[in-house]
């Protein structure tokens, strides 16, 4: 019953934006004066706002149904006694149902393949729903102000040029922007609600297309349409791996569902997660002879095929499934090596960057990695960890030298996504998703702040032209400072730590515990630690660059102004969440909600276990190193911030001088590690070469063959014509002329003279008789 109720509320939250999309796109199109009306915006805000209320209500219902069992740990939890705490938590979860799954709608049944829309609701789903709808509501409200210059019949786009060198003039697209945003919300919520991996894939592609539409919103700009194409194509590479994973998954497991469908406490339809059984050390159940992975029922008993043999899947194919799904996550979350599309995606309007390209869609990759965690084996997790590690370092270094305020934030996003992936990869499932939530808040906050700055500076994005804006736009500046402190992970007394402190702490702690168990992988700790410093550095650099110091461009400075309330109120709301949403850290409500349905491979009290050659740290092991890790991370962040202050906040050091002295490194970073050039050389140029060769081959060979065929056809048809005209026509004409000449000669006999006819008759009679006499004589 609770499941049905939850489904009801979440489906309202999910489908309202779709209805909003339909209304906005069609009514916006047909209404009398769509260019000047804000109705579409309020419609979108209403839909997503109601969605937020529904989500919050669903969260309340869910909590009441299980008596908030997942939060009880906080009440009588003792930080020093984590084992007992975790054990208690386990038992509570066992008593209360926290995860619900079932079928929403059956799309079709093809043989044994049942394509359905399912729902899977657990604490992660609910937290994601609430987070997405809350942030989306704030961003929608912000966008009303930010996009208001589209409320015109003739919008002049100064960044797009017509062929004759002028600016592009076009009608405003206010309503279309909000329609796309609503469609995106629908797709994103569907992705979160999805109860099977195939449904995830559907909405995965839907958010992809929304991202494409929104990046290319200023479609007249060449850079914007190129960026939209780039984002879409890069994602296709990842989705290709996703599809391969889906095929293998279907072949061996025969279902796409995550959870078991339970009716009257009987499992009627087993889901994927219970099919791979793990022992207490985190190892999957394997056949002793072949080494294949056994597929089990919900109680760990091996399922059998119809011929009595055990159902099993080769181990390497389980790895392939994991890597395939993760490839999709790499594309969507802009991880190395597919990270290049996300900075270009900043061509879209800033609210889009805030919602789609920092808080929600790119986080969907991390969400899926977390959701699919029970199916990942150790090799896959290690791949995820290293991918995240490379990405976070790479992106952070580029962010240090970026000058475009949105590009800095974009690289920061990539870097933070790398942190999340690393967290999941080093077995810190909760840490990774914890960071996902906190990051969504403070990154969307910072993007909106940057949007406010851009709006206030009349669409100026280059930081070297800003500076000294602190008292020009104080609300923006201070909310931005909250976001910067949050992402840097600063500690404050009385437990008022910024949310990033808790979440990054958790990740670094997981990494530290991991390298304690596996010293060979020490890079997985050192690099994130170093990058924590870099993060603080580039974030404060951005803040100092923008808000303090002397105005570098007097024109920009003179015209800068604070944004209207419709833009600042969302900033304040988000700033509050960015600061306090993780209150309490790992004993706080947010963390406990997330971990309520944590899929752990390990029993809670296991310190470390060896699985597949890799030692897995348990919760206890992570907790043991937590304070150490927090200290190290804080020191790194503080030093990074200090350097930034020295370099950019004061005039002690000449930054240009440093830049000149380190010209090689700076150029390397400013050119984004030459990844775009590398891809250009590796894929684009060969593709162009191959295409040129194909074009040449086409022109030289195929065209020649075709022309030869055409010419020979002409020759043949000429001969055919001759044959037709002489032989066929000649024959026909011969018959005709023969008939005519016979007729003409017979015409002579038909004299029309009566007496001659009589004569002919007589002659005929005489002749007949003569013949008779000669033939029958006697």
């Amino acid at each position: 019953m609770v499941g049905e109720t939850l489904k009801f509320w979440l489906m309202i939250a999910w489908l309202l934006p779709l209805a909003g999309f339909v209304v906005e796109i069609f009514f916006g199109f047909y209404s009398k004066n769509p260019r000047h009306s804000k109705a579409a915006a309020w419609c979108a805000v209403g839909c997503i706002g109601i969605g937020f209320l529904c989500s919050a209500n669903a969260l309340r219902i869910w909590g009441n149904a299980n008596e908030w069992c997942v939060l009880e740990a906080a009440e009588h939890g003792d930080p020093g006694d984590t084992q007992a705490d975790a054990g208690h938590h386990e038992t509570d979860s066992a008593e209360h149902q926290t995860a619900y799954s079932g079928v929403i709608y059956t799309l079709g049944v093809f043989g044994s393949l049942e394509v359905t829309l399912d729902y899977y609701i657990d604490s992660l789903t609910l937290v994601m729903f609430t987070m997405v709808t809350l942030i989306a509501t704030c961003i929608h409200v912000f966008a009303i102000g930010y996009m208001s210059d589209e409320l015109t019949d003739e919008y002049v786009d100064h960044s797009a040029h017509t062929s004759d060198g002028g600016h592009v003039h076009r009608p405003g697209r206010f309503y279309r922007f909000f329609a796309f945003m609503s469609l995106f919300c629908f797709a994103m919520l569907g992705l979160v609600l999805a109860g099977n991996i195939f449904q995830v894939f559907i909405f995965w592609e839907l958010v992809g297309i929304c991202s494409f539409l929104l990046i290319g919103f200023y479609t007249e700009r060449k850079t914007a349409s190129d960026a939209a194409n780039k984002a879409f194509i890069m994602n296709r590479i990842g989705d290709f791996g996703f599809l391969i994973g889906l095929m293998v998954l279907w072949t061996f497991f025969g279902t796409f569902r995550f959870g078991d469908t339970v009716v009257d406490e009987q499992v009627v339809d087993q889901g994927l997660f219970s099919m791979v059984h793990r022992d207490g050390t985190g190892n999957v159940a394997r056949d002793e002879v072949t080494g294949d992975v056994l597929i089990t029922d919900t109680h760990g008993h091996v399922l059998t095929n119809e011929d009595g043999s055990n159902r099993q899947i080769p181990y390497y194919l389980l790895v392939v499934i994991g890597l395939g799904i993760f490839a999709g996550c790499v594309g969507k979350s802009a991880q190395f090596p597919l990270q290049t599309w996300l900075p270009d995606a900043m061509e879209g309007p800033t609210p889009v960057s805030a919602l789609v390209h920092s808080a929600t869609m790119v986080a969907a990759g991390v969400y899926l990695a977390g959701r699919f965690f029970p199916m990942f084996v150790q090799e896959v997790l290690l791949t995820i960890a290293y991918t995240g590690c490379i990405t976070l370092f790479l992106a952070a270094t580029i962010a240090m030298v970026a000058t475009d305020i949105k590009k800095v934030l974009a690289y920061s996003t990539i870097s933070q996504l790398g942190y999340m992936m690393l967290g999941i990869g080093v077995f810190g499932w909760a840490a990774g998703l914890f960071h996902l939530i906190t990051h969504a808040f403070f990154k969307s906050l910072m993007f909106l702040c940057s949007g406010s700055v851009i709006y206030g500076c009349h669409h100026e994005q280059e930081m070297p032209k800003m500076g000294g804006l602190l008292w020009k736009m104080p609300i923006t500046a201070f909310t931005m400072l909250v976001g910067v402190c949050a992402i840097s992970g600063f500690w404050l007394p009385f437990g008022l730590h910024f949310s990033g402190f808790h979440s990054k702490d958790a990740i670094v702690a997981s990494a530290l515990a991991f390298i304690h168990a596996n010293p060979a992988h020490f890079m997985l700790f050192l690099i994130p630690l170093l990058t924590a410093g870099i993060t603080a550095f580039y974030m404060f650099r951005m803040w100092f660059y923008t808000f303090v110091g002397k105005p570098r461009d007097q024109h920009v400075h003179d015209h800068a102004h604070e944004s209207p309330w419709v833009m600042t109120v969302p900033l304040l709301i988000l700033a509050a969440f960015a600061w306090f949403c993780a209150y309490g850290g790992e004993s706080g409500h947010l963390y406990l909600m997330l971990t309520g349905d944590e899929p752990s491979h390990l029993a809670a009290d296991v310190t470390a276990a060896t699985a597949g050659g890799i030692n897995l740290p348990g919760h206890a092991a992570i907790h043991a190193v937590h304070d150490d890790a927090g200290r190290w991370a804080l020191i790194a962040a503080l030093s990074g911030a200090l350097i930034a202050y020295v370099l950019y906040g004061t005039n002690v050091v000449n930054v240009e001088e440093i830049k000149r002295q380190l010209g090689g490194v700076h150029g390397f970073l400013a050119n984004k590690w030459y990844f775009d050039d590398l891809y250009d050389a590796l894929f684009m140029k060969p593709a162009h070469k191959v295409a040129a060769f194909c074009a040449w081959f086409d022109g030289a060979v195929f065209d020649r063959i075709l022309h030869g065929a055409a010419k020979s056809m002409i020759v043949v048809s000429k001969w055919d014509r001759v044959f037709d005209e002489t032989v066929v026509d000649g024959f026909v004409n011969l018959i005709a002329s023969a008939t005519q000449s016979v007729g003409a000669s017979l015409r002579v006999v038909q004299t029309g003279r009566l007496r001659q006819y009589v004569m002919f008759i007589v002659l005929g009679v005489v002749a007949l008789f003569a013949v008779m006499f000669t033939t029958f004589p006697g």
Partner: protein, 102 residues
């Protein structure tokens, strides 16, 4: 008996041939009609001769009676046609009736 029969038949033959020549040479439409009458009479002579001299019996006379009747009818219709022809062409020259010649 054969001699008598042959004499009748010879008379019939002469009448017939004369009728045919008449039809073949006369340009006057009424002359042509007279040729037709002669031909029919030749045939009648033969019928009557066969009626008298062979097993044909009374049937020959019945047939010649029919021939006379049809000849009269034919003459009436033919004369009507000739009159029409004369109305149209103001002549009875059959050579003028060549309108249908292609």
């Amino acid at each position: 008996m054969p001699a008598e029969l042959n004499s009748y038949l010879l008379v019939g033959a002469v009448l017939f041939v004369c009728g045919v020549i008449c039809m073949a040479t006369k340009r006057n439409a009424i002359g042509v009609l007279m040729g037709v009458e002669l031909v029919l009479n030749g045939a009648n002579v033969n019928f009557v001769a066969f009626s008298k001299f062979t097993t044909l019996g009374l049937d020959g006379q019945v047939f010649s009676l029919f021939v006379i009747v049809l000849a009269a009818a034919e003459a009436a219709v033919a004369l009507a046609i000739v009159l029409n022809f004369y109305n149209n062409h103001l002549t009875v020259d059959v050579d003028r009736g060549n309108k249908l010649k292609g």
